[in-house]
C-alpha cells in the first residue's frame, strides 16, 4: 500500500508520520505516536472508548482515517493534564470514584470535555444524554455522572 508522510498536530505538538491511506487515527496515536491512553474496546464505532477531540469536537478515532485529520488540532487524554496538574474532569473522576477498571475512562473524559465546552452547566439528564455513546461495563455510570457534574461546577467557578 502506498505510504506517504503526513503531518499531525497532537496535544499541541507537531509530528510527521509515514502513513498508509487506510490507517485509522486510533492506530496513528497508539501504534505510531505511543499515545496508548486512547483505548479500543470495539474497534467498530460502537462504544466510545476511543474518543479524542479534533478541533474540539469528539470523534471516534477507531473509525476515523488519520489522513482526514491532518493538520487539525487533535487532543487526546495524554494532552489533557499539564504536567502534574490534572484537568478538573480527571480530578473529579478520581475523587468521585468514577473509575473502576479504567478502560472506558479516557474516552469518557474526552467526551465529557467536549460536552462541557458546549454546555458548561448541564443538568444530570443532559450529562446522561451527552455520554450516551460511551459504554462503561463496570460502574453503572452513577459516579461518572457525579464526576462530570462536579467538574462542571469546578470549571464554572474558574477551575481548570
Amino acid at each position: 500500500m502506498k505510504k506517504e508522510i503526513a503531518s499531525f498536530k497532537v496535544n499541541d505538538r507537531a509530528h510527521e508520520v509515514l502513513i498508509t491511506p487506510n490507517m485509522t487515527l486510533s492506530e496513528l496515536l497508539r501504534e505510531h505516536l505511543g499515545l496508548t491512553g486512547t483505548k479500543n474496546a470495539c474497534g467498530a464505532g460502537e462504544c466510545g472508548s476511543c474518543t479524542v477531540l479534533v478541533d474540539g469536537k469528539p470523534i471516534l478515532s477507531c473509525s476515523t482515517l488519520a489522513i482526514a485529520v491532518q493538520d487539525k488540532e487533535i487532543l487526546c487524554i495524554e494532552g489533557l493534564s499539564r504536567g502534574p496538574e490534572l484537568h478538573s474532569l480527571q480530578e473529579a473522576f478520581i475523587d468521585a470514584g468514577a473509575i473502576q477498571c479504567g478502560f472506558c475512562t479516557p474516552g469518557m473524559i474526552m467526551t465529557a470535555k467536549a460536552m462541557l465546552e458546549g454546555n458548561p452547566n448541564p443538568t444530570r439528564d443532559q450529562v446522561k444524554e451527552g455520554l450516551g455513546g460511551n459504554i462503561c461495563r463496570c460502574t453503572g455510570y452513577v459516579k461518572i455522572i457525579d464526576a462530570v457534574m462536579g467538574a462542571a461546577d469546578t470549571l464554572s467557578k474558574g477551575g481548570k
Binding site: K39, G97, G132
Partner: protein, 759 residues
Amino acid sequence: MTEKLSVVGKRVPRWRAHDKATGTAKFLADTKLPGMLEGKILFSPHAHAKILKIDTSKAEKLPGVEAVITWEDVPNKLFNPNKLDLILVHPELEFKDTYVLSEKARFVGDRIAAVAAVDAATAQEALELIEVEYEVLPAVFDPMEAMKPGAPKLHDFAENNISVHFDFPVAWGDAEAGFQEADIVVEETFRTAKNHICQFEPCTCMADFGADGRLRIWSPSQHAFLHRRKIAEIFDMPEGMIQWITPHVGGAFGKYGSLSIEPVCVALAKKAGRPIKLELSREEDLFATEPRQRYVSTGKIGLKKDGTITALQEKIIVDGGAYYTHNFSTTAVNMGGFLGLYRCPNVAAEATCVYSNVHPTGGVRGYGNHEGTCMLEQLVDKAADKLGMDPLDLRLKNAKKAGDPSSTGIPMETCSFEEMIKLGAEKIGWKEKRARKKEDGPKRYGIGIGIAMDVSGAQPFNIQHRNAFIKFNEDGSVNLLLNAADLGQNIIGAMAQIAAETLGLNYEDIHVVTGDTDSTLYDIGQHASGGCYQIGNAVINAAEKAKKQLLERAAKKLEAAPEDLEVREGHVYVISDPEKTISVGDVSREAMYNFEGEHLNISGQGSFSPVQNPPPLSAVFTEVEVDIETGEVKVLKILYVADPGRAINPATVEGQLEGAIAQSLGYVLTEEYVSNRETGALESDNLNTYKVPSTLDMPETEVVLYEEPVPSGPFGAKGIAQGAMIAVTPSIANAIYDAVGVFVTDMPATAERILEGLK
C-alpha cells in the same frame, strides 16, 4: 466495633486511579516487548467437524510469518480451563476435555490453528492461507435434543452427551415429605439467559520464553498461581520456571477465572522462539470466550397457608456448551443459592450437565447463585400471589437470622435481613406503591423486591489460602506484597487501607507490590468475593507481626515497654507519656543502619485460611413501567440495600453495587447471546447486537450501605463484588410480574417475550 478508624471506611482514591485518569495506566494492548510478534487464532467455522487435513505451508511462506501451529504442535494433553480442580474438595466432578488446539471442532469458534507474524495484519492474512479439510459432522444445539439416543456425540466419554448427573451434595431433610406437608406448591420451569460478561478490555495475553529458559506470561488472570500451575501441567514444566505477571485488568467479572487464550499464546511463543502478543477483537472475545451457562431448571416450592416454606426442590439441565469448564461448580452454587437463602427444613436438588455444539460457558459474576436465587425469588412472589400474601411479608416470615446456616451451611455470625428489608420498604414506600393503581393508559406500574446472600470465599468447598508480606522502608513507608488482581473492584486499595489502619500509618504510606508470582506469596486468586475478607485478614496478620517488630525496636529508643506504645499517622507515641514520640521512619531507618549489630528490616508475613464464610446480604427494590402495547419495560428506580459487613472504602463498594445494577438490567432486558439455529454461529457478536446498557438505559438508583461488621472479617468486612447482581435481577422480574402479571421464565425479558406473555 466501636474503635475509631482513621483510614478504613474513608473514601480514598482507588489504587492507580491517577494513572487511569491520565491514560498512563498500561493495559496489555498498550504494551510491546522488544522483538515481539503478534498472534492470531484460526477459529472453526463449523459447529461440529473433524479435521481431515490441515495444510499450513502457504501460510508459512507468507513473508513476515514466523510460526504456524495446529493440534499437532501442542501437547497431547487434556485439561480443564477452570482452575477449580486444583483446589476443590471434590475434584472428581471436574473433567478434562479440552486441548490447546483441537483436531475436532465442537462449536463455531473452537480453536483450530494459530499464527505468529510481524504484525497482526500479516497474521490475519496468513490465517486465510491455512487450508483445512473438514469432515463436517451433524451438530446438536439444544441440550434436550443432545440427550436423546442417537444425537451427535461430542466427547467419547459422555454417553448421551451427559458429562455428569449429580445430587446436591449437602442436602438436608426430606423434600418429598416437605411437599406433602405443604398447603400449596408452586412449580415453574425457567430458561436462564446465556449472558456474556463483555468485559470492556478485549481478552489479551503475552508470552515469552526468556534466554534463561523461563516462561513469562502476561495475562489478566484472576488466579495467577493456579493458572501458572495449569500451564505448568499442560506444557510439562516446573512451576518455578514460569513467572505470571498480571497487568492492569480492563474488567473481569469471572471471565479470567478460566484460562482462555494463554495456552495458545504459550504454544506460539514456544514454536516461534519470540515474544508473542495475542489480542482478541471484540467479536472474537464474544464468540470465543465463555458466557454464562444456560440453566433449564424446574424449581418447586411448598408452603403452609401462613407462608412457612416447607420444601424446596430444583431439577436442572445444564446447557453448558461444548466443553465442561465450570459446569459442576456453578451448578452446585446455583443449588446452594436456591436451597439456602431461606429457612427451609427439607431440600433436594439434582442436575444433569449436558454437552452440545454451542459456545462453551464459564463462571460469570454471580457464579450460578445469580440464576438459582433469581428463580427462587420469582417463585416466592408467585407463591405470595397464590397465598394472597404481600411478598415482602412472605420474605420476612422465612428470612434467615444470625446463627442460621448461610447458603454454604456455615452458621452466620450476623444476619439482618429483616431490618434491611424493612429499611428498604420504608425508604421506597413499599406499602403505598404496591397498593397503587397500576394503569396509566397503556403503561402499567409495578414494584418488586429481591433478596440474596452471597459468599466471602468458597470455603468449605475449596482450599482458600491467602498470604501477604509487609516490609518497612527507611522513610517509614511500607511495601505490601500480595497477589491480588485489581479487576476494578479495588481490592488493592482496600488492602492498603487495611494495612495502613493496622500499622497506624497513612494510606499514602502503603506501596503495594502485586501481580507477579516471582515477588509475591502464594494466593488462590480472586473468586467468590473472597478477596477482601480473606486477603484482608492475611494483611492484618502480616501487619501485626511487622508492627510487633516495630514496637519492640521503638521501645528501646523511647525507653518504654512495647505494650505502652501506639502508632498514629506515622509516629510512635508512649501512651502514658504522649510527649515522648519517635517517627516510624526513624525507627525503621535505625533498624537498617546501625553499628550495634542488630540489623533488621522490619517486616511480617501473614497468612489466612478461613473457617467462616460470612455472606454479604442484599435487599433490592425495583419500580418499573411496562407498556402493554409495545411490551417495553422501563425501569424507573432501583433501591439497593446492602450489608457488606464494613465498607472498607464506601465509594468503591457503592461502585460495585451500581455497576451490578447496570449488568442486571442488561441481563434481564437487553443482553441476548444469540446463536444461529442452523449453523450454531454467534449472531450477537458486536456491541450493536449484544446490547450492553448505556447511560440512557439507567434508571434512578439509590444505594444504602447497611453496615453490620462481622466479627471474623477484617475490620468487619465481608465480600461484596461477585454477589452484587443477584438480588437486582429478580427484583426487576418481580416488578414486571407485579405490573402486568407476566411471569418471566425466559430471560432476557425482551419486548416480544413480554407481549407473548400478555396474550
